[in-house]
């Protein structure tokens, strides 16, 4: 290891954030927020520096930090970035930064809230950065537990139920992942948790089949794979704004990332065996999520189901095992993360002011708060795949690959495009157009200060929509060799 350990520094920015927040007296909420903002900014700056210094023409794992930690078990402090986790890091940094800013008005137990949030994000960063199975699992679980208190204390609708359901579901996933990791470790000779050394060892076909399906189901629960998706809308609805943003924006990506990074790296042939199932579930998820979304009357449920639909797109891309498919899947993970963060962020503002997120009670919001409404409408347009927004490119690539590999499933999934347009525009029409509800007529529009985080998210969506090359070059520097290794 030479030079400045930037990856550890990124991880530590959240850990230091957590520690410094813990040192502040709880009544000084303003200071808590400022400190949170500071550490989130540090993380963002470091990640941006990393992104622009990542050499996509070289590809491979860069900025590697690898130190043996426990010799007898073969556990390494092993960090590195390649084209697959680079976008995820950027996503995490952006969503944390905007999430903290969005929660600026929080007064109730702010210290605990931001401390738990930083703990959650520490887990997410750790999972994305680590290349060691042991640490990956540890960080993964670190990111799950804070969800329970975050939702059950600061949450809204049916918060205890939502929190419990979410935690149980995700732990059920963990219960599949842990044995799979131990199994892989044992089959690899019980000498190393290093992902790439295990990959080199190579598993027998039977092992790969067993391992992959365990990892797929375990991580798939977190990625809201149909039919294990019902925790996700309920959890989103119950969670407070910034937690929804991080949860839907970043945490769900952990699931897809786990399938890609661990499952597909270790068991490519296992994926080959299960890919039909994976594509089937993904296609059902795409159409099903959009159709159920049509019936929802709660703004957050709507977003929750659109997430199910969009995450189906990620699954479909991964299942194709082609360069375009996986490029599209990773791009979709990023694009969907930013888009959902924008969704929840704008709904959060409306909910904070009107104390309702029921669509029939709102109506005509464009008149009352044009800018806040514009944020939601832009997110909705990104959600239905309007071109020159990041998710369009992702969907394009996924569909190209899907029609090539699974023609029937791919064409079936494209029907989802029509339904998702219908349901998003329906929501927009009922919430933001029409006669305004005079009950909310006096509510001020979003202030410039609170508009900034949303504008940043819109900026990211549009930037990568106009210049997809900036993202795709990075992603495919890892994906092309990855697909070549199948």
């Amino acid at each position: 290891m030479t030079g400045f350990p930037i990856l550890t520094a990124i991880l530590m920015s959240t850990v230091f954030g957590l520690l410094t927040i813990l040192l502040i007296p709880p009544e000084r909420t303003k200071l808590v927020k400022q400190v949170s903002m500071f550490w989130a900014t540090v993380g963002l700056i470091l990640t941006l520096w990393l992104y622009f210094n990542f050499d996509h023409s070289k590809g491979g794992l860069q900025f590697v930090e690898r130190v043996l930690w426990v010799k007898s078990l073969g556990i390494y402090w092993f960090h590195g970035v390649d084209g697959i986790n680079m976008p995820m890091l950027l996503l995490t940094a952006v969503v944390l930064f905007t999430g903290v800013w969005t929660m600026w008005e929080l007064e109730y137990r702010a210290k605990e809230f931001f401390a738990l949030m930083f703990l959650l994000v520490a887990g997410v960063y750790g999972m994305f950065l680590s290349m060691d199975l042991f640490w990956m699992f540890v960080w993964y679980d670190v990111s799950l537990f804070p969800m329970y208190p975050l939702i059950s204390i600061w949450g809204g609708t049916r918060k205890e139920y939502g929190a419990m359901k979410l935690t149980l579901y995700l732990l059920a996933g963990s219960a599949l992942i842990l044995p799979a990791i131990i199994y892989a470790w044992v089959q690899g000779g019980a000498i190393t948790f290093d992902l790439f050394e295990l990959q080199k060892i190579g598993f027998s076909l039977l092992d790969q089949k067993i391992l992959f399906v365990m990892l797929y189901l375990g991580f798939g629960i977190l990625a809201a794979v149909w039919p294990f998706h019902t925790w996700s809308p309920v959890g989103h609805v119950a969670a407070p704004t910034a937690v929804s943003m991080i949860h839907a924006g970043v945490l769900m990506k952990l699931g897809a990332y786990g399938i890609l990074r661990i499952g597909m790296t270790l068991c490519p042939q296992g994926l080959g065996y299960w890919s039909d199932l994976m594509a089937l579930l993904a296609c059902i998820g795409i159409v099903y999520g959009a159709l159920v979304g049509l019936a929802q009357t709660d703004l957050k449920y709507v977003i929750g189901y659109s997430s199910v639909s969009h995450m189906g797109m990620v699954g479909l891309g991964l299942a194709t095992m082609t360069v375009s498919g996986i490029n599209g899947a990773v791009f979709q993970m990023f694009a969907h993360g930013v888009m959902t963060a924008l969704f929840f962020s704008s709904v959060g503002y409306i909910y904070d002011r009107t104390h309702t997120k029921m669509i029939p009670e709102l109506g005509g919001m464009s008149k009352t708060m044009p800018i806040a409404s514009a944020f939601f409408i832009i997110a909705a347009l990104a959600g239905i795949g309007v071109p020159l927004m990041a998710s369009f490119w992702a969907e394009l690539l996924v569909f190209i690959a899907a029609v090539q590999v699974f023609p029937v499933g791919g064409i079936f999934a494209m029907v989802g495009l029509i339904i998702s347009a219908l349901f998003m525009l329906r929501v927009v029409q009922r919430t933001f157009y029409g006669e305004r509800n005079e009950k909310f007529g006096h509510i001020p529009d979003v202030s410039p200060f609170l508009a900034v985080p949303r504008i940043i998210l819109i900026g990211v969506i549009l930037f990568f929509g106009f210049f997809p090359k900036v993202m795709l070059d990075v992603i495919q520097s890892a994906v092309i060799p990855f697909v070549g290794s199948f």
């Binding site: 359901k165 159920v292 464009s366 309007v386």
Partner: protein, 646 residues
């Protein structure tokens, strides 16, 4: 970057097609609260764009080969996409049409929209619309074209639903977006199939592909028909017609733009853009011809029953688009493009004139406008008549020349049914156009006091007189009327311009028409038939609505079921509504929602319930009370003994 400043054509293209985007961004971000400045920015940028487009039109005429500029946009594996411009005579012509009409409409809107609370927003979306459409026109690859095609759809969604407080407006915007999306998914699939099967989405490459024999006719048919799905959606062909008549919920200048040069013209433009590719598949051409014919006839019948000024023109747009599709599908490449050009002029004219009436009388009903003395408004009255004459194909107005060209193309088809359908369509068009004109000119029961009715105010302001602003509306209308009068005589020079250097186009056109050597009827007879179809329609309308003592009931009113059928748009809307309600909302959606709540969640909750109840049950055994423990011990021991004994 350097290349941009070295090449004047490229510079003009970049500047002209990017300025409206900048103008939109500036308006949305900075000048939202300054309507005056917003409109100035938008109008200035579109005027510059129009000038650039005209410069390019002239430059392309002198060029020996089409102008092409490309730069890398994205790549994924072996899939590469470029962002670029492709300027050949067709795109240069279309770019000019779009820029000029958008420019006139924006100037007109200075008057029409003045005082509207959403003035800045209106100009921002107008800029977005112009930007998307211009970039679509000059796209160098089919995928880039599709991207801007979708943005055109987005801009129309925003503008149709401009008066968003009105439920009908937001409904119409949504309907337009979703219905065109249905076709767009087909288009999208077509692009994906072309990517996978052919691998090159460049428009000239696609057009040259059939000649090289690298792809089979079956593949071409499939790809062409899928792309045609997009045309069906965007150009409101059967069965996706009904969004367009509803789209007039937007402000009238928007309808003018939407119905003439942008949105709906996009579909026909794409058809002509990949015409040589399309023409390589006779089956695809035949299907397109049939769809175009059905569309034309259906829409004409719908226009015969409505009293809404804008709706008549909306249906007539659909039927004229059907005619363009027929023409292209019959191999009449130039005729289709020429009709697109003339139609853009006179349809914008018709809508803008109607807009003046609507602005003045605050109603869309032709009977009311007539009664209140619509004919006293000389400028719009004369201009709307010019437009209607052109639409009816009366010489020497521009519509006559292009309709004649289309009939010529249909005449070259072996089957005479297409020609007769075309003539019948021309007759219906003339009939419903002049039904409207005579309603305005000779109102039933004479003219009443002007300004008697002020309800149905379709746009949110109620000023009585606008003084100088009237000229902002009148001048564009007069310009368009002049164009409509003279454009027809430019047919031959335009033909020379469009067909110059179009080797693939010429070849495909000749192949599709079968050389145009034989016709069903002779050339002179065709001209006579064409003119008389229009005149018969006008005379019938005169007989029923114009002459003194006319009944002012169409002949259709003697057949109430037919009238009802036409009035209900052949029950197409009712069918879509029924399908959406039964199959989606109360079908799949509710089944799946119940599945989520009851079966999946119910199952999980059930497991939790069992775990909890089980825990409570067993905790009973672990209560720590000696008696219970003893009891259970005795019971277990007893059961065990029983087991061993028996």
């Amino acid at each position: 970057m350097d290349a941009i400043f070295k090449d004047p054509v490229l510079l003009a293209t970049v500047v002209g097609t990017s300025l409206p985007f900048l103008s939109m961004a500036v308006i949305l971000i900075f000048t939202r609260h300054n309507p005056m400045l917003s409109s100035r920015i938008s109008v200035t940028s579109i005027v510059v764009a129009a000038v650039c487009a005209l410069l390019n039109l002239a430059k392309v005429a002198g060029a020996s080969h089409p102008f092409r500029f490309e730069t890398a946009w994205m790549s994924s594996g072996n899939f590469h996409l470029t962002f670029g411009y492709y300027l050949d005579p067709l795109s240069a012509l279309m770019l000019t049409i779009v820029a000029v009409i958008a420019c006139l409409v924006q100037i007109y809107s200075l008057g029409y929209m003045s005082g509207d609370p959403g003035y800045s927003r209106y100009y921002a979306f107008q800029s977005l619309f112009a930007w998307a459409m211009m970039n679509m026109v000059i796209a160098s690859t089919l995928l880039q074209l599709f991207i801007f095609w979708e943005l055109v759809g987005l801009a129309s969604y925003m503008l149709i639903g401009f008066y968003y407080e009105k439920f009908s407006a937001s409904q119409a915007g949504k309907k337009a977006f979703v219905m065109t999306r249905v076709g767009d998914v087909g288009f999208f699939l077509g692009i994906i199939i072309l990517t996978l099967g052919f691998g090159n989405l460049g428009i000239p490459d696609l057009n040259n592909a059939p000649g090289t024999g690298t792809i089979t006719t079956g593949f071409i048919t499939m790809a062409a028909l899928l792309v045609f799905c997009g045309v069906v959606g965007k150009s409101a062909q059967f069965p996706l017609i009904t969004w367009l008549p509803d789209a007039m919920e937007g402000p009238t200048p928007v309808s003018a733009l939407l119905h003439s040069a942008t949105m709906v013209a996009a579909g026909v433009y794409v058809f002509s853009r990949i015409f040589p590719f399309f023409a390589a598949s006779p089956n695809a051409m035949l299907i397109a011809l049939a769809i175009g014919t059905v569309t034309m006839l259906l829409a004409s019948t719908m226009a015969m029953t409505t009293y809404d000024l804008k709706q008549v023109w909306a249906y007539s747009t659909v039927s004229q688009l059907g005619m363009m599709v027929m023409s292209l599908a019959a191999g009449g490449y130039f005729a289709g493009v020429f009709h697109l050009t003339t139609h853009a002029g006179f349809k914008a004219l018709l809508f803008l004139c109607s807009g003046i009436f609507i602005h003045e009388y605050h109603t869309n009903d032709m009977r009311v406008i007539g009664k209140q003395g619509g004919r006293k408004q000389l400028v719009p009255m004369i201009c709307i008549t010019v437009g209607a004459l052109a639409l009816s194909g009366v010489p020497p107005f521009s519509g006559f020349f292009s309709k004649e060209a289309i009939l010529g193309a249909l005449n070259a088809q072996a089957n005479p049914i297409w020609l007769f359908a075309g003539l019948f369509g021309a007759f219906l068009t003339a009939y419903y156009s002049f039904r409207l004109i005579f309603h305005l000119l000779f109102p039933k029961g004479g003219i009443e006091e002007k300004h008697a009715v002020h309800e149905m105010d379709s746009h949110g302001h109620k000023e009585e007189h606008h003084g100088g602003l009237f000229w902002a509306m009148a001048v564009p209308v007069m310009i368009l009327a002049c164009v409509t009068v003279v454009l027809g005589f430019a047919e031959h020079s335009l033909q020379g311009y469009i067909m110059a250097g179009g080797g693939a186009v010429k070849h495909a056109s000749t192949a599709a028409t079968g050389g145009a050597a034989h016709g069903v009827v002779g050339h002179e007879l065709l001209v006579i038939l064409g003119i008389s179809a229009g005149l018969v329609g006008i005379i019938l309308a005169w007989f029923e609505y114009g002459r003194k003592g006319a009944s002012r009931n169409g002949f259709l009113s003697y057949f109430p079921p037919v009238w009802k059928l036409f009035d209900a748009r052949w029950y197409m809307d009712a069918f879509f509504r029924w399908f959406l309600d039964t199959a989606i909302y109360s079908g799949l959606t509710s089944i799946f929602t119940r599945n989520d709540r009851r079966i999946i969640d119910g199952g999980i909750d059930g497991i939790c319930f069992f775990t909890e109840t089980g825990g409570r049950l067993f905790s009973f055994m672990q209560s720590g009370m000696l008696q219970y423990n003893l009891l259970i011990m005795v019971l277990v021991a007893g059961l065990a003994m029983l087991f061993f004994i028996v």
